[in-house]
Each structure stands twice: as C-alpha cells, then as structure tokens.
C-alpha cells in the first residue's frame, strides 16, 4: 500500500533531522509540465515572431513609401508577417481570442470582395487618411488582407508614384495598427499575471488546474485544424466549381504556405519543442494512437510539400484538384484523430453546452 510507505518515508525524513540542502523539488505533474513546456517552447516563441514580423511590416511600409525599399522586398516582408500570423492559428488561446482581435488582423472569408470595395471607399472619403481614421474604420480595412490587396492586387501598382500617393497613407496606417495590436497581445502574455504565467503556474485566476490549460490548448488546436479544412475546402468546393477567389491570401498566392505554417504549429503543440508536448501525456498503452497521429502529420505535410504549385494553378486542372482533395482528406483524418481519439485518451472534454440552443 502506498500510504504506509509514505508514512514511513516521512518518518525517516524526520528521524534523519533537518537536511542542510533544500528538499528535492517535487516532480511537476505531467499536465502542468506539458503546459509550461509548450508555453516556453512553442507559444511564446510564436507570439514573439509574430510581433517581430509586424514591427518589420510597419518598417517596410515606411521604407516603401519613402522610396527606400522596392516592392519585391515589401512583398516578402508581408509574406513573412502573414506566415507568422498563420502560425498563431492553433495557438490562439487567451488575449488573441478574447477581444475580437482576429478579424482586425485578417478578414477571411471575404465572399463579396469587401476588402477591395471598402479600401477604395475609405480612400475616396479620406484621401489624407490619418492613423485615427483607420482606428475608427471597419476591421475589413485594418488588417493584413487589406495590406495584401494594396501590395498584390493587379489593379494597384505601388511602383507608380501617383498610386503610391493614393495608397501609402493606408499602407502606413495598417502597418502601425498591426504593430501596435501584436505588441499589445504580446504584453498581455508577458505581464506578471499574464497568459504565459497562467499556463505555467496553477491554480490561477484563469485555470483551476493544469488539465484545464491543456484542455484549452487542445480545443484551440482542434478548432484550428477544423478551420484549415474550411480554408482548403472553400476554394476547392468539391463536386462543384472551384472558387479560387474564396481562398485565404489568394492575391499573394500564399494560401498553401499559410496552411503549412498553421499545420507546423499544430504539430509543434503535439510534439513539443523538446518532445514535451501533448504527445508526452499519452500513456504507454496509447502508443498506437501516438504513432497514428505522427503519421497523419507527416502525411499531411508531405502532401503539401509535394504539391509544388500555387493553389490557383492546382485548382485549374483535374489532377491538381485531385491532389488537393487528397490533402483535404489527410487534414480531415488529422482533425478527427485529435477531436475524437486524442481528446478521449487525455480525458479532455472539448465542449458540451456551447452549441446546445437551450
């Protein structure tokens, strides 16, 4: 029995008298260890990269508009910022999900091409657009999707001086808005009672125990995997006519890169930076499930790597659509493995009342 053993150990310790050194630290409970490891190894680095990429975005907008940077470099900087944002999708716990902020960063889906319309409406009404004007404007024009429109849409040529004069005030304002927003979110992670601390020390004002934190990480991961299916499934429109303009980041051709960046983060939550992610919480008898999830990540990411063409090219012919269909099925498998089997294996309830309508 455990109890007598513990008692005798305690007795032994008492008899041995005070040890001069500190007592050995109790080993961290596995869920607390995983949550802390993921925070330091995966979440904080991703939020920091995003904030850095938005600072570079704001710098790039200033340089481009001052004639100190060419359009090609500005586009690269945008792609990096969008990639850093995509990487946050499976990691959107806490501050990012609580202030309706995601729409301010990315406007998707944009079924009616609101981005193009609202950008031009805004600039017609405010040709001398100031930062404050953007802060009060719709989320449609505040984020990366509008920024992408300015840099990539065929109707706009920022190498042309006249157009630069028209569009630069907005480009600059979006850059600053994104920089400030990401800095604010990172600050909410880093404060003394910040999100990072709440994922590392339990109980706290947010989580009663580590299991609640891991549950929330899994919930966001599952919801992001589901979102990736939607991001691919919407333009693919299986059985119907493909909808290339319904894709995320279609103007910059970054749809698949974005998908892969999100997947990489989902996989990082699973594996952890040092083998200390959700996978480490599975017991030995659940090794089969661990192997299947490993395989599903490998397969899905290999399929993306093997596509070799941008989404719009693939959507245009049957062979390309077939490859995308296989990718969709892999994503679906991956999603289901997390939603059903992993959640059950970890004893995590993903949601019970939220969609009841009661």
């Amino acid at each position: 029995m455990l109890r007598p053993a513990l008692v005798s150990l305690a007795l032994l310790a008492t008899l041995a008298g005070c040890s001069p050194s500190e007592p050995p630290k109790p080993k961290k409970e596995p869920y607390a260890a995983a949550s802390a490891a993921l925070t330091d190894g995966v979440l904080l680095p991703a939020y920091t990269r995003w904030t850095d990429s938005d600072r570079q975005l704001a710098d790039s907008a200033r340089a481009l508009c001052a004639g100190e940077q060419d359009l090609a470099s500005a586009r690269q900087t945008y792609l990096a910022a969008h990639g850093a944002w995509a990487a946050l999708q499976p990691l959107a716990v806490g501050p990012l999900s609580e202030g309706n902020l995601a729409w301010q960063v990315q406007f998707w889906p944009d079924k009616k091409n609101l981005v193009a319309r609202q950008v031009n409406t805004l600039l017609s009404s405010k040709p001398q657009l100031k930062q404050a004007d953007l802060e009060q404007a719709s989320v449609v024009v505040q984020g990366l999707t509008a920024y992408e429109y300015l840099l990539f849409d065929p109707a706009i040529d920022l190498a042309d001086l006249e157009q630069k004069r028209r569009y630069c005030p907005l480009l600059l304002a979006i850059g600053s808005h994104q920089q400030a927003l990401s800095a604010r979110v990172l600050a909410a992670w880093l404060g003394e009672q910040g999100m990072a601390s709440q994922l590392k020390s339990f109980p706290n004002a947010r989580y009663a125990e580590a299991r609640e934190a891991v549950a929330e990480l899994l919930r966001v991961q599952v919801s992001a995997l589901d979102g990736l299916k939607k991001k691919l499934g919407t333009p693919l429109a299986r059985g119907k006519t493909p909808q290339p303009y319904q894709a995320e980041a279609w103007r910059s051709g970054a749809s698949l890169a974005s998908l892969d960046a999100s997947l990489a983060s989902a996989e990082a939550l699973w594996r952890g930076a040092n083998g200390d992610g959700a996978r480490s919480l599975l017991a030995a008898e659940q090794a089969d499930l661990a192997t299947r999830i490993d395989a599903a990540y490998s397969e899905t990411r290999q399929r993306i790597a093997a596509l070799g063409q941008p989404l719009n090219v693939l959507l245009a012919d049957e062979a390309g659509r077939a490859s995308l269909g296989q990718l969709y099925d892999s994503l679906d498998t991956l999603h289901r493995l997390h939603e059903a089997e992993l959640a059950k294996a970890l004893g995590i309830q993903l949601g019970f009342n939220a969609h009841d309508g009661d």
């Binding site: 125990e209 309830q349 969609h355």
Partner: protein, 365 residues
Amino acid sequence: MRRRVFLGLGGTLLAAAALGGWTLGRSAGQAPLLLSARNDADGRHYAVGYRLDGQRQFATPVAERCHDVVAHPTLPLALFVGRRPSRESYLVDTRDGRLLQTLASPADRHFQGHAVFHRGGEWLYSTENDTREPGRGLVGVWRLNGNQLQRVDELSSHGIGPHQLLWLPDGERLVVANGGIRTEADSREKMNLDAMEPSLVLLQRDGTLLSKEQLPERMNSVRHLAVADDGTVVSGQQYEGDPADAVPLVAIKRPGQPFQPFPLGEAQRQVMHQYTASVAIHSGLRLLAITAPRGNRVFIWDLDSAELRLDAPLPDCAGVAACTEGFVVSSGQGRCRLYDCRQAEIRMQALQLPAGLWDNHLRLA
C-alpha cells in the same frame, strides 16, 4: 490570514482548505447540495447531487439527458426535467438519489427542460410543447400525491416554444420565457426562423394572462430567466439572426416597468456570440450573473447600476446559481467555480467537484 492566503495564490484556491464553514445549507453543518444533470465521458446521462465541499450525495443514471432541476420547497425531492424535446422527467429522492418516478409527458406533449414547484409543494408547473400543433406553448400542471406527480391540467403559455418559467416573489404569478421558436415533435430543428415570436409573459397561477411583452428583434429568442426578491426579472437571449447584428442579449423588467434591454458593454455583447446560457440573481448583493458558453465567459453585473463587476474566462461555462458568498458556476469542460462577491474585488475559487460534463443548469438546495 484568509486574505493573505488568497493573495498568495493569485486570487485563487482549489477549495476545501479555505472554504471552512459553509453558512448556508438546509442541514446544519452540511455544505449546500448542488443538483444538476451531468454526463459521463461515454455520453451516459445522470441526475447528480454533490455537496459543494465535493462529497457526492448521489449520481442516478437516467435514460434521457436532463436540463433544469426543480427542488421541492420542503421535502427532499427534486425533479430533473428532460431536455427538450423530451418525453421523460425524473423525480429523485435527494438524500440517496433513489428514482421515485419516471414522469412521462402526456400524449402529444414534450417537456421543454424547465419546471417549478409551487411554494406550497403540492403543484408543479412545466413548460411543454404541443406536438400536434407544434410550437403552441403550454404550461403543464402536475399534482404531487405521495411520491408521485400526476398530470392534472394544462394552461396556455401565450406564446410559441416556452422555455424557462419562474415564480414572481409572491409565489402566485409565473413569468414565462416564450422562446418563439417552433420545433417539430421529436426534433430540435428550428422551423420558423423567419416568423419567430419570442415574448415574456406574466401569468396568474390559474393561467390568466397578465402581460405579454416583446423585444423589437423577432429573431432574439427569450430563453432563460432569473427573478430578484423585489420582483425584478432578467432574461437571457439567444439570437438566431446575423452574427454581426447588435441585439440585446440580456433584458430586464423592473417592477412596474416595461421589458427592455439591460445595458451591456459592447465588448461583453460581442464576446457572447449571440448566445447566453444560464441567468441567476443574488438578491442580497443585488448582483446578476450570466454564463456565455460560446464566448467562454462568466459575467457579473450590479443589478441596479448595470456596472460590470466580473468578466472572467471559463470554458464552456454552464449553470449558475446564487449562494451565500456569491455565485456557483459549472462548466461542461473545467472545474466548477465559486465566485465570492462579498468584497469589492470578486475572488474565484475552484470547487473540488468532478470537472466538466455539467449540463446547462444547476440548483442549490
């Protein structure tokens, strides 16, 4: 010092140790009894009772998932009401969980998840749907005879798809939330989103209509209620229209005043995602609490000034009920929480009850 202990743990404790003496509870010295429907991880349904200190009183397996629970005013009985559209409710002995009666809904009627015992303990009123004329709202009248509830009569709810009903403080007048949504016999599918008729109705116990009021937005389903001891009624809505529409998701009817929106901050309204779950009022502290499981937030406001007192994260938050200290809140996913509202700063403690799988409503007896 108690205060120091709280601060040392960042405002939070995992119950028990610090909870010490419960001040309220029917049985002297015992922590209040929390009654709720709950599932297990395999999806089986239970009617459960737990003392707030974590001790399990009972967990009775039941065939159908339940929704609200109605404790008898004097006897150790509670009715676990079937979740709509349900044909069964369960009368349980709250001392040991013994199933005393499986209440079958009458032919062509199904339960809508809520009911109330009359203060005298002899009568029970339940919201129901007429499945021959789907959506026609009814209030079923039942009489307690020994340990059995018998169907006696039914009244009109004066609306479509009645959901929660409660007593006004005199214990003789009912307030009914007619959700306004028509559903067919055994389905949860919404059939009339283009012609919804939600309303807040006040009734005499004999069925006489006293008042019927509506909010301007027809797709804003009035579903859950709480009543303060001065007769103030608060309702929580679920909006079926455009996710971007700004509509009053919380409404209030102060005594003698019209039914009108309760002023919400824009940030709170947005994060609710057009959906509120349970509503509770602490009459002594004049506080209003609402769970918003789609936004994963628990809110507490000052009932009179509408000042926001708490906006806290709790994934899949579900039932809420007032207790001496403030409010107890359950969750479909995490641990139940006690929010101690007696000081200016509201403090949260997790309770040592099983985590997750708690259904929409809880009652303290």
